[in-house]
Symmetry: D2
Subunit: 309 residues, 4 copies
């Protein structure tokens, strides 16, 4: 390899896999576009959760598969471009059957995504925080979907995370454990056990019974009051802050709009805004200036002449 | 028309045109995706500014035409879907020559956009707040671009706004007025006079000399301290708050990410978040519930049988 | 309306609706991209069938909803741009439930499409020429889907065509008629009765029993040997040549590739090619030359000065 | 690596680079969508030319950068999915300045494209077969564009091909050689010397003077009568059949449309069509049947249980 060519960056997927396997807990932060993904990385998060709920909301549609896969992929591509940390994409139910799901896996892999999370519900999905007792996918069909995805991934490090909705749907711990084990045996690299209780009890019970058969992933949207230490002690591998960037942006924009509309001016909102210069800095406009100097009129340098196949 | 069919909604373009023609000043709020557009409308703004700077930033790229027209159009389509007020799209320089610009006009019109703003700089553009003395487009070429757009629009009410960068580029009031008049004669429906001074002086001078030859549009990003009354008295037709939604979202998300990362929990950030239920309400999840009751198993009603061409 | 502005073109949807209502039979030709759509129009067809099978094939994927709605929409947008005749889009099963289907209807309507055809099968679909006895959608659910689409269309002239798969699935004439009547009562503007027999018998039987309750649409892919006169006499309103452009392109490209590969040259294939100049003519490159003369440096003319809101 | 996971496929880019370096001539075939790319590969071509002219034509637009980069990328993604051979993308002038061009290179590389070809003209481009004496890019600016692309590619094997338009623009052999040498020194992996003469003389002259400084690429659209042996002997590394798939499809579809319209039937055109079953075979519908059996209800097998990070 020509030494002037850039080295291949270390694989994001390998890093995601290592995070899942590590003894300590890892945290993913929700993002819904390139900007929020970059902010999450900048704050120190080692990975990004590309939330279907947050992405749908940011685009102005409902979390009911109103978005098509292509629109998800287009959004995710910007998130990959804007970051260097691993990205786990919320793939909902896989947007159809095993064939749709495995096509999604190949498309995500090509973009540079490190993992997909699939949930055992029906297409089109309903957000888990709506209603009760939502119907679940047939267990054997969902196992086939997982297996198809694993058999289709282009990168050996890519992970498929199986999201178990049995607790959310009121089916109880036994069914949740049974399904999780089936999904693991079908090839899932990790199990995402979802719950919308407030005390985190059923998640901790699940973790104890699961006993580390494969990495566990959780998202304490409703039970965040419990504190992460309990989950870390219970052996949870990865904890997702699943929608807070989006929810913060909604509140901030609402307040700013209301203030500007009421006051016909910006004075009251200035403290709630970053400066234009901060945006330029954050998206590295300086790099473009430097590159313009370098590339807008090339006269050659010592190291590049004569390169060829 | 069959009475069971929905009536055509009133034209957004006609409303935008009326706002430009009205004696009182109108305010547009920046938006960069479906969500922020809906928030701006909800706060009472009668129109949306689809800012190239804000859209680029939200997607994680720089405001240097790193975005292609298709990516702009895909974003704008969601904004149209999420709102009912007129949308003015920041078309930068038209993404090439007159032919690219007029193609953009037709594509925007088809989506339901009410106006495009074109600026007299070179493709690929540089954000106006960067550097000084940026080169301007040839005046006659830019006039041709405006004329081509006007001759191509599909909807008679669609507006082309000509953005004059002469003041920003340090060319002075005389050239600004000369160019504005040329653009007006080439067919521009309104003139956007841009300035990055802090005292608003040159904008007020321009407005006085312009003397209402056609509607004036301004964006007081740097000179917002002046207060809008002065501009209203000067006859400005439309004032754009050009990037504040995006800048508020950046600050909010940055603070939330930093707090969650530092505290390993949500308690400190809860006051900075809307609830999940508020998101459901804002995007009208109730409508989907009602529609599911109505449409998931149709047994007919009195009014619909027998409809046909 | 300013007389210098172009008049609104006559509505494609109104023309499609008139074709369905007319006593004589109309013919639609399949197209799968902007080019084939323009060729079909140029050959005199009064409308275009945007075939899911042909579009999928042209893009290189299978007709099993491997394509997402966004990819369908992006393709259709080019077809609308390249033509002026009405376009009927093959919407398969609506890409999910009633909510996905009605969203598709709004998106298609915005692009300028005149009608969508929905079939009473399950998502993801299987091409009707594959296998036998494919499962059908629940009748009441499919009625709800049709009703939701009718209630959602933005243009009163837009048509929803209900495709009845009962004959193809071996359910017989009685069920086909029963379902067709239900779909008509739910609001379908026309019924597409599909068959893969070779003698056209069951289609003619259906037409006789249907007795003109609403317009009938057919596609004689397998039974084209019957001749169109029989169907015209039977009162069929619209006949679709559903995939022949694509199938011709496949054969032509296969032969040209094989010849060039074998002969290492073009001499043998020249008679099978249009010239480069013919392509320029067909896509009206002359218009761009004329526009370049007109718009590349505008010095004004009598008719345009002073236009404004 | 877990032995149940698929091995990484061999790199397409490495194969393209090897073809350029090999002593014998290689042939690329034009394709403009997934289908034509797959047909070209099936006929034995070892690589694909994703022609801007052919892609634009297939989509129904003109070869004047009416297409945006996103639309090009979306098309190319389907071509990559439908094939396994290397793909060289016609990148026109890079869709703007060095920054647009290097962004395109990263996006193409991510999709799995093996090379981009950039030409030394101005954006928006004009097809080389139109008119005479088209203006060329500033040589130093174009060198910077090449250098920026080489510095930005993610895969060390990715190639940048510099297309020299000096002969087409009537600048003569000396300028063509001078520019080619500058582009090679700026980092171009190969030089595409374009000509629209009919006798191939100037291409052979160029090849003799070039004397193998780096691989040469040609496209004998106008001078195909010369025969490829002469170019092979002259040391040309790669010959592109640049638009024949598209031109064959146009003629075939035109004839089929005219015949069907005239005859109101398919009998006359049947010999010009592949069967529906051939389409199913060509796009491997059998694989989907087999996969459906395997994955639609998974009960596990010996090899997959217990996989994990």
């Amino acid at each position: 390899m020509d030494s002037t060519r850039p080295a291949q960056p270390p694989s994001r997927s390998a890093r995601l896999r290592a995070m899942l396997a590590a003894p300590e807990i890892s945290f993913l932060m929700e993002a819904h576009n390139g900007l929020s993904a970059r902010i999450a990385q900048h704050a120190g998060f080692p990975g990004i959760w590309a939330s279907g709920f947050a992405i749908s909301t940011a685009l102005g549609v409902r979390d009911s598969n109103e978005l098509s896969t292509k629109e998800l992929l287009d959004t995710v591509a910007f998130m990959v471009d804007a970051t260097t940390v691993p990205i786990v994409v919320d793939g909902d139910t896989g947007y159809g059957n095993f064939n749709n799901a495995r096509r999604l896996v190949r498309q995500l892999g090509r973009l540079g995504v490190s993992a997909v999370c699939l949930e055992d519900k029906l297409f089109p999905k309903t957000n888990s925080f709506l209603g009760t007792g939502q119907p679940l996918a047939d267990e054997r069909e969902f196992c086939g979907k997982i297996r198809a995805c694993k058999d289709s991934q282009l990168d050996a490090e890519f992970c498929v995370v199986a999201r178990v909705e049995a607790l959310v749907s009121g089916r109880g711990l036994t069914e949740a454990l049974h399904r999780a084990e089936s999904y693991r045996r079908a090839g899932a690299d990790a199990v995402f056990i979802h719950s919308k209780q407030q005390d985190g009890r059923e998640v901790l019970d699940f973790a104890r019974e699961w006993a580390g058969r494969c990495p566990l992933v959780i998202t304490p949207t409703t039970y965040h009051g419990v504190g992460v230490d309990a989950f870390e002690r219970a052996g949870v591998a990865m904890l997702i802050w699943a929608n807070q960037n989006m929810r913060a942006a909604v509140l901030a924009m609402r307040q700013v709009c209301q203030s500007i509309a009421a006051n016909r001016g910006l004075t009251a909102v200035e403290p709630a805004l970053v400066s234009v210069q901060e945006v330029f800095d954050f998206l590295d406009y300086d790099e473009l200036d430097a590159a313009t100097l370098r590339y807008s009129s090339w006269h050659g340098d010592e190291t590049t002449a004569g390169a060829g196949p």
